[in-house]
C-alpha cells in the first residue's frame, strides 16, 4: 500500500503543479459550457434586419387580417421592454395578387427569395379558412393549406412567429364571419400564461399546509443539468489523460524501471489513485466555486447539498473505473497515436449518457430512463440526473445503482490489473481488443 500511495502522490503532485492543470481548471468549464455561452452571445446580437414576406391570399379575405395581426405582434415584441433596444426582426408583409398560373408565380417569388429581395412568401389556399374535417376525394388537397416558402431553416423561430401571426389573422376573419364584434377580438384571442408550480405539502412539524412554490427554471433544469455536466466533465478530464500517460511511460521505457520497484497492480493503482486525487481537487474547486457563486447571487437555497455525497460516490467510482480501463488500454498500445484512437471507447460511458440527458429529463421515471440509469457504466451520470430532478427517484434505486457501480468498478479494476500486468511490457505492437479480453480472463 505504501508503494501505491507513493506513486499516487508523485503522479498527483506532478499533475497539479503544472500550468496545464491550472489552465485546464479554468478552460475546461468554458469549453464544456462554451455551447451555452455561444448561444447566449448569439442571442445578444440578434439579426434585426427587416424580413419582407409576400402573401398570396387565395381566400380573398385573409391577407389584410394577417397583416394586421403581424403588425400588432411586431409592435408588441420588437423591442426589449427594459432597454428599449430592438431584439427581434420586423416582419413586413406585402400582398401579391394570385396569378392565373400558380406554379409560375411561385417560381417567380422563389427567385426573388433566392435573390434576397424577399425573405419568404406565404400562400393561403382558397379553402384555408374552413378546411374540411376529413380529406374530400376529388378535391385539391392543397386548397386548404397555408404554405410558407423560404430557404430559411425549418426549425428557426421565424416559422413559429409566422405561424402565430397567420393563425391569429385567420381566426379574426372567422370571428368576423361569425358576426362577432371586432372590439371583442383581443379579449377572445388573448393568450393566458400557464404558471408552473410545485406540489402543495403539509409541514410535518407544524401541520400547516405549505403553499406550493412557483417553479424556478434554474432549480428545475439548471442545477440537475449543471451537476451532471460537471460530473461528466471532471470524470473525462480526470481519466482521459491516463491513456496517453501510460502509453508515454511505456514508450519512454519508464515502466520497466518502475516494475523493478513496484508490482504491476501497485503501479496501476498508484496511477489511478493519483488521477482520482486530481479529480477530487478539481471537483472541490468547482463545487466550492459554484456554491459561493450561487450564494453571491442570493440563490444559496438552490445548492443541492443533499446530492453532494452521491456526487462524490459516483465521481470516485467512475474515475476508478475509467482510469483503470484507461491504464489497461494504454498498456496495450505501442504509441500515443494508438491510444488516441481508443479514447472514444474509453469516454463512451460518459458520452452516451450525455446524448441521453434530454430524454431522461423529459421522462425521468420512464422504463428506459430507469433501466439505463441502473446500467452500471451509465449509472453515475444518469442516476445523479434523475436524483437531481424534482420528480426524484424511488429511494432504493440510487442504492441499487451505487451497489452495481461499485461491483462493476471492482470487476473492471481487477480485469484491468490483469491486462496491465501482461500488456505493459509488450513492445513493438499494439494489442487487439481480443488480446485484452484474453488477458483479462486468463491473466
Amino acid at each position: 500500500m505504501h508503494r501505491t500511495l507513493l506513486i499516487a502522490k508523485r503522479d498527483y503532485l506532478a499533475t497539479i503543479r503544472t500550468r496545464a492543470f491550472i489552465f485546464g481548471l479554468v478552460v475546461a468549464p468554458l469549453l464544456f459550457g462554451g455551447g451555452f455561452l455561444g448561444v447566449a452571445l448569439m442571442e445578444s446580437k440578434p439579426d434585426i434586419k427587416d424580413r419582407r414576406i409576400a402573401i398570396i391570399d387565395r381566400t380573398g379575405v385573409s391577407a389584410a387580417s394577417v397583416i394586421q395581426a403581424a403588425q400588432e405582434r411586431n409592435a408588441k415584441n420588437l423591442f426589449d421592454k427594459t432597454t428599449h433596444r430592438q431584439i427581434h426582426p420586423r416582419y413586413v408583409f406585402e400582398t401579391v395578387p394570385p396569378a392565373a398560373e400558380p406554379e409560375l408565380q411561385r417560381l417567380a417569388l422563389s427567385d426573388l427569395v433566392r435573390q434576397d429581395k424577399l425573405y419568404a412568401f406565404v400562400e393561403i389556399g382558397p379553402a384555408a379558412l374552413h378546411p374540411p374535417q376529413a380529406p374530400a376525394s376529388g378535391k385539391d388537397p392543397r386548397a386548404s393549406e397555408i404554405a410558407l416558402y423560404s430557404n430559411a431553416s425549418g426549425f428557426g423561430e421565424q416559422r413559429q412567429w409566422l405561424t402565430g401571426a397567420i393563425n391569429e389573422g385567420i381566426r379574426r376573419v372567422r370571428l368576423a364571419q361569425l358576426g362577432v364584434d371586432r372590439a371583442r377580438f383581443n379579449d377572445i384571442l388573448a393568450e393566458i400564461t400557464v404558471d408552473n408550480f410545485g406540489l402543495v405539502a403539509r409541514d410535518k412539524k407544524t401541520g400547516k399546509i405549505e403553499e406550493a412554490g412557483k417553479k424556478n427554471e434554474v432549480a428545475e433544469f439548471g442545477i440537475p443539468f449543471g451537476l451532471v455536466l460537471l460530473l461528466g466533465m471532471i470524470v473525462m478530464v480526470g481519466s482521459s489523460p491516463m491513456l496517453s500517460a501510460v502509453t508515454e511511460d511505456k514508450a519512454q521505457r519508464l515502466v520497466e524501471m518502475l516494475l523493478g520497484l513496484a508490482t504491476p497492480f501497485e503501479l496501476m493503482m498508484g496511477k489511478v489513485l493519483g488521477a482520482l486525487g486530481v479529480s477530487l481537487t478539481s471537483s472541490a474547486f468547482y463545487i466550492i466555486g459554484g456554491t459561493l457563486a450561487l450564494e453571491g447571487m442570493g440563490m444559496a437555497g438552490l445548492v443541492p447539498v443533499a446530492l453532494f455525497p452521491w456526487f462524490y460516490a459516483y465521481l470516485i467510482a467512475d474515475v476508478l473505473f475509467l482510469c483503470s480501463l484507461a491504464a489497461a488500454l494504454g498498456a496495450g498500445c505501442s504509441s500515443p497515436q494508438d491510444a488516441q484512437q481508443l479514447a472514444i471507447v474509453l469516454l463512451s460511458p460518459v458520452l452516451i449518457p450525455y446524448f441521453m440527458l434530454t430524454f431522461v429529463m423529459q421522462q425521468p421515471n420512464g422504463a428506459i430512463s430507469t433501466a439505463m440509469s441502473l446500467f452500471p457504466p451509465f449509472t453515475p451520470l444518469l442516476m445523479l440526473l434523475r436524483q437531481a430532478l424534482p420528480e426524484g427517484v424511488p429511494a432504493w434505486q440510487p442504492w441499487v445503482g451505487l451497489a452495481g457501480v461499485l461491483v462493476f468498478t471492482l470487476i473492471m479494476v481487477w480485469a484491468a490489473a490483469r491486462i496491465f500486468r501482461v500488456a505493459i511490457l509488450l513492445q513493438g505492437k499494439s494489442a487487439h481488443l481480443s488480446d485484452l479480453a484474453r488477458w483479462a480472463i486468463r491473466g
Binding site: R3, R253, L254, M257, G260
Partner: protein, 316 residues
C-alpha cells in the same frame, strides 16, 4: 525479526539465485527454455549472448517482473512470486527516468519506493560518489546520456541491495564514466553484494565476471568461470604477428580459421593439429615476430557458438 534479517540469514552459505528448469514463452516464441543455473552469493555473474537470446527475459524473471511459465526462480532461497524486495536492485536495459523530475527528488522517490523509508542520506552519498552533486537539482531532461545513466545506476543501488541486476550497464558510456561505474560495481561486490550483469562487451565479461553464462536461442550453452569455459576448448588457438599479415584464404596445415585482428592474427587449430608445423609453414613464407599458443578468447568462443559459421550444434 525483520524480513530483511530473515532473508539475510536464509541466504547464508547458499546461492543468491537458483533458477530451476525455467521456461518462458511469448506466444509461439520460447524466450527461455528449460533454463537451470545457480548464482553464488557475492559473485559477479555475467550473462552474454546475442540480441534476443533470452538474457533480458532471464533477468526480468529474477527481478520478478516476468513470471516463468514453468520451473521456479528462487532469490536468497525464496520464491518471489511477483513480490518486490528492497534486497534487489534492478537497472533495466532501457533507461527509464521521469524526464521532468529533478535528480535528487527522483532518486529519493525510487529509493523510498524500494525500501519504504526515506533514503535522502544514501542518495546524497551516491551523488557524491559518482560526482553528480552539481546535477542534483537539475531536471533529468537536461542531463547528458552518460549522466542519466549514472543517475539510473544510483536508482538501482539506493538504499542497499544484496542482489544487483544490471542489464547492459555500460552501453553508451564514455571510458571515464564506464570506469567509474565499474569501480562502483566492484566496490559493491566487495561489500558482499551479488551482481548479475549482461553485456555484449566480451572484455568486460572476461575482466569483471567471476562466472559467465552464455544464453543462445533461449538455452544455456556455457556456464562457469572463464577458465573452466576456456578449458572446454583447450589450447586450440595460436596468436601470431607476421610480416605482411595472413590472408584468410592462405592455406596453413591444420588451421581451420584465420581471424585477422589487424596487427595480429588468431589461428584456430583443428583437432590433432601440430602447432610446430604451423610455425614452420609460417616461417617458410614470411618473417614471424611473435607466436603464442593459447586458449580461445571469450569473444572467439562467442563467435564459434553464435556466429554465422555455427552449425546446428547449438540450435534449438
Amino acid at each position: 525479526m525483520t524480513g530483511r534479517t530473515q532473508l539475510a540469514n536464509i541466504a547464508k552459505s547458499m546461492d543468491a539465485v537458483q533458477i530451476s528448469n525455467v521456461t518462458k514463452t511469448f506466444g509461439a516464441v520460447t524466450a527461455v527454455g528449460d533454463l537451470t543455473l545457480a548464482i553464488p552469493e557475492g559473485s559477479v555473474y555475467g550473462f552474454i549472448g546475442p540480441n534476443g537470446s533470452g538474457k533480458t527475459t532471464t533477468m526480468r524473471m529474477i527481478a520478478s517482473i516476468f513470471y516463468p511459465d514453468r520451473g521456479e526462480v528462487r532469490v536468497f532461497g525464496r520464491q518471489m512470486l511477483g513480490a518486490r524486495s528492497e534486497l534487489i536492485g534492478y537497472l533495466p536495459e532501457e533507461r527509464g527516468l521521469y524526464r521532468k523530475m529533478a535528480v535528487r527528488p527522483l532518486l529519493e522517490f525510487y529509493g523510498e519506493l524500494r525500501s519504504g523509508r526515506s533514503v535522502a542520506r544514501e542518495v546524497e552519498t551516491w551523488l557524491q560518489k559518482l560526482g553528480l552533486e552539481q546535477w542534483a537539482s537539475n531536471k533529468v531532461q537536461a542531463l547528458s546520456k552518460g549522466t542519466s545513466q549514472k543517475v539510473q545506476f544510483i536508482a538501482a543501488v539506493v538504499p542497499a541491495p544484496r542482489l544487483l541486476i544490471l542489464d547492459e550497464p555500460f552501453t553508451g558510456l564514455d571510458p571515464v564514466s564506464a570506469d567509474l561505474l565499474r569501480d562502483a560495481i566492484l566496490e559493491l561486490r566487495r561489500g558482499g553484494v551479488t551482481v548479475i550483469l549482461s553485456t555484449h562487451d566480451m572484455q568486460t565479461a572476461e575482466n569483471m565476471c567471476d562466472y559467465i553464462c552464455m544464453i543462445f536461442r533461449g538455452r544455456k550453452v556455457l556456464d562457469g568461470t572463464l577458465a573452466s569455459i576456456q578449458d572446454q576448448y583447450g589450447n586450440d588457438t595460436i596468436r601470431v604477428a607476421v610480416e605482411g599479415g595472413i590472408d584468410s584464404r592462405d592455406s596453413l596445415p591444420g588451421v581451420e580459421k584465420v581471424r585477422d585482428l589487424g596487427q595480429v592474427q588468431e589461428l584456430r587449430m583443428a583437432r590433432g593439429c601440430d602447432p610446430q608445423e604451423v610455425l614452420r609453414a609460417l616461417v617458410a613464407r614470411t618473417r614471424v615476430s611473435s607466436f603464442s599458443i593459447m586458449k580461445p578468447s571469450l569473444h572467439d568462443i562467442f563467435v564459434r557458438i553464435a556466429g554465422p559459421e555455427a552449425g546446428e550444434e547449438h540450435s534449438a
